[in-house]
């Protein structure tokens, strides 16, 4: 908008019919300004770098699509993407399901005045705030395949043969997802807990009178009523999981081979092992595209239906 436009706009405003709603932008301005001031320039810079040939050692010397082309044609990329899909799907499903289970258990327990509910909430939450550096320490011991490894020794008590938690490529993926679910469940729990708390008890009372069992109530009341929260949790957990690499880095480093190397870890390696800042930026863009695509899919599946909205 140029300077000369402003007075016109200002003059026009009062002439609007009274029932027209005021513009949306003053409401949006604080959030957008905040993002713009602190984050927009670096993000645009990532975009610029993705189309360049910068390394940690030198700035961009020429722009073009070659960098992106080379990044896309890397022979490792398809495998990395597959690992990302599996890890993300396993983690997101695991986090959402566990988070829902914990939230509903806590809500039910609190309503019935059962003991130990805040202990459950707190312990789940603690897993989330434990500093990342501790993750490696903890899970290395748990999954250790040495004869004295924590999980394997526990299994041995029950006569179960030792499991190759980390050295077997497909198990390593499961183990990494377990560690990630352990840490990430708190997020989904908090979102679901708040949403479930917000639901009116009348709905459930009515359903109980209709003779609906607990499973039916969950399926036909809780799930549909919490759709907005489920959408938000799914979107945010997916984005977080896509960007997660510290759990994996601490546990397997991405190995054995590339068995647990997700896209964000691949990006990490590209930037910090290969010093390829532009290649890393291109990978970061791919990650953004994947996240956007998934978000749109989620909104289609879980978002408000137009007929209900207006």
């Amino acid at each position: 908008m140029t300077m000369s436009d402003t007075p016109v706009a200002a003059q026009k405003a009062p002439r609007r019919p009274k029932r027209a709603r005021p513009a949306a932008w003053p409401w949006l301005a604080p959030a957008l300004l905040m993002l713009g001031a602190f984050y927009l320039v670096p993000i645009l810079d990532v975009l610029r770098l993705a189309f360049g040939d910068a390394t940690l050692l030198r700035s961009v010397e020429s722009y073009g699509l070659e960098g992106i082309q080379q990044t896309l044609s890397s022979p490792a990329l398809p495998g990395v993407l597959w690992v990302t899909v599996v890890f993300t799907a396993a983690s997101v499903i695991g986090i959402l399901a566990t988070g829902m289970l914990v939230a509903l258990t806590v809500v039910r327990g609190e309503m019935r005045g059962l003991w130990g509910m805040s202990a459950l909430r707190t312990v789940v939450l603690t897993a989330w705030v434990v500093p990342g550096i501790a993750n490696g320490l903890i899970w290395q011991m748990l999954f250790s395949e040495a004869p004295f490894g924590a999980l394997n020794s526990t299994l041995a008590v029950f006569g179960i043969a030792p499991v190759r938690w980390l050295s077997d490529p497909s198990n390593a993926m499961v183990s990494a997802a377990i560690a990630n679910v352990w840490q990430g469940t708190a997020f989904a729990m908090i979102v679901f807990y708040a949403a479930r708390k917000g639901l009116s008890q009348d709905l459930y009372a009515a359903a109980a009178i209709d003779g609906a069992g607990p499973f039916a109530r969950f399926l036909f009341i809780t799930l549909p009523q919490m759709r907005a929260a489920i959408l938000v949790a799914t979107v945010l957990v997916t984005i977080q999981t896509l960007n997660t690499f510290d759990v994996i880095l601490a546990l397997t480093g991405g190995g054995p081979g590339r068995a647990t190397e997700v896209l964000s870890l691949f990006t990490f390696n590209t930037v910090f092992y290969n010093f390829d800042l532009s290649g890393g930026s291109a990978l970061a863009l791919i990650l953004v595209l994947i996240a956007l695509l998934l978000t749109v899919v989620y909104i289609r599946l879980l978002g408000d239906r137009p007929d209900q909205d207006k």
Binding site: P22, A24, W27, L28, A31, M34, L35, F38, Y39, P42, I43, D45, V46, L49, L56, T105, R108, G109, R112, L114, A119, L120, V123, L125, T126, A127, W128, V129, V130, P131, A134, L137, I138, W139, L142, S144, A146, F148, A150, W182, A186, V191, A194, A195, G198, P214, A228, A229, L231, L236, I239, L242, N243, A284, V288, L292, T295, V296, D309, K310
Partner: protein, 280 residues
């Protein structure tokens, strides 16, 4: 079976599920505690010993008597509280307008805001450093808190929109009929009802900030400014002796204020906003 009997049975099931969940989530934490109470000699036993032969609290003592540990904790709390508060304040109006109005480009804008959260912080590291260097804001808490805030906006907007969506519009329309301005309606009618959602958005922001490593790492290299998430590495140092036990103790201690803050704030926020609703 009587209704009461069913409830009893369901209570039992709830207990069983809760206990199993507690056990699953607590087990890894107990291993961390096990490390934190070991002597250096026993640390190298790793998973081979769960309960140390010579448990010790010396590690906790060493961390708590460290002259700067408190400062690191304070820096961490300050940065994430500022970030979470700021993010919430700017996100409320945005989320409200996204929830209550339909305007052109609304969904595109929602997605656009979310994109901020999708860009890998790993790659942003260098551009962020250069940007803050140009602004002359390196080594300041203002810049770090600002970035925390910006990082909290997408999450807050999305979460708050979801909780506003769950509040029936009829209540607001009643207020509007009573002559409430849109801002007044938001403040006195909608916000109190959205208290649980706001509390969780705040807490999520706070806790995400608490574990934030890359942003303070790149923006703050002076020791006095660092939050605990970065400074915890100061306890990871020794080439010959093991410091794993200290690190574990530091991790355990670091968790406590975050949990305390979580429990305190959750109740505080919910009750404050609900009290407002009663008065309003």
């Amino acid at each position: 079976m009587t209704g009461r009997g069913t409830e009893r049975l369901a209570d039992l099931a709830t207990y069983v599920i809760a206990l199993v969940l507690i056990a699953l989530f607590a087990a890894p934490l107990l291993w961390l505690v096990s490390l934190a109470i070991r002597t250096p000699a026993e640390v190298f036993l790793g998973a081979a010993r769960f309960i140390p032969d010579q448990p010790t609290l010396a590690n906790f003592e060493q961390i708590l008597t460290d002259r700067t540990f408190g400062l690191y904790l304070w820096n961490g709390i300050k940065l994430c509280a500022l970030g979470a508060m700021g993010a919430l304040v700017v996100s409320v109006p945005a989320a409200y307008v996204f929830s209550r109005r339909s305007f052109r480009g609304a969904s595109a804008l929602m997605l656009g805001i979310l994109t901020v959260q999708m860009v890998s912080p790993l790659v942003l590291l260098i551009p962020l450093y250069r940007y803050m260097e140009r602004l002359g804001l390196l080594e300041t808490h203002a810049a770090a808190a600002g970035v925390y805030m910006a990082l909290g906006v997408p999450l807050s907007v999305w979460m708050l929109k979801a909780s506003f969506d769950a509040i029936p519009k009829s209540l607001e329309q009643a207020a509007a009929v009573d002559g409430c301005s849109p801002a007044g309606t938001l403040f006195f009618v909608t916000l109190p009802l959205a208290a649980p959602g706001m509390a969780s958005a705040f807490i999520l922001n706070m806790l995400m900030g608490w574990s934030q490593f890359l942003v303070p790492f790149i923006l703050l290299s002076r020791d006095q400014l660092q939050p605990i998430s970065v400074a915890i590495f100061n306890f990871a140092g020794s080439t010959s002796a093991s410091t794993t036990q200290l690190l574990a103790a530091a991790c355990v201690i670091t968790v406590l204020p975050a949990i305390a803050a979580f429990l305190a704030l959750q109740r505080l926020i919910v009750s404050a906003i609900m009290a407002g609703a009663v008065k309003g």
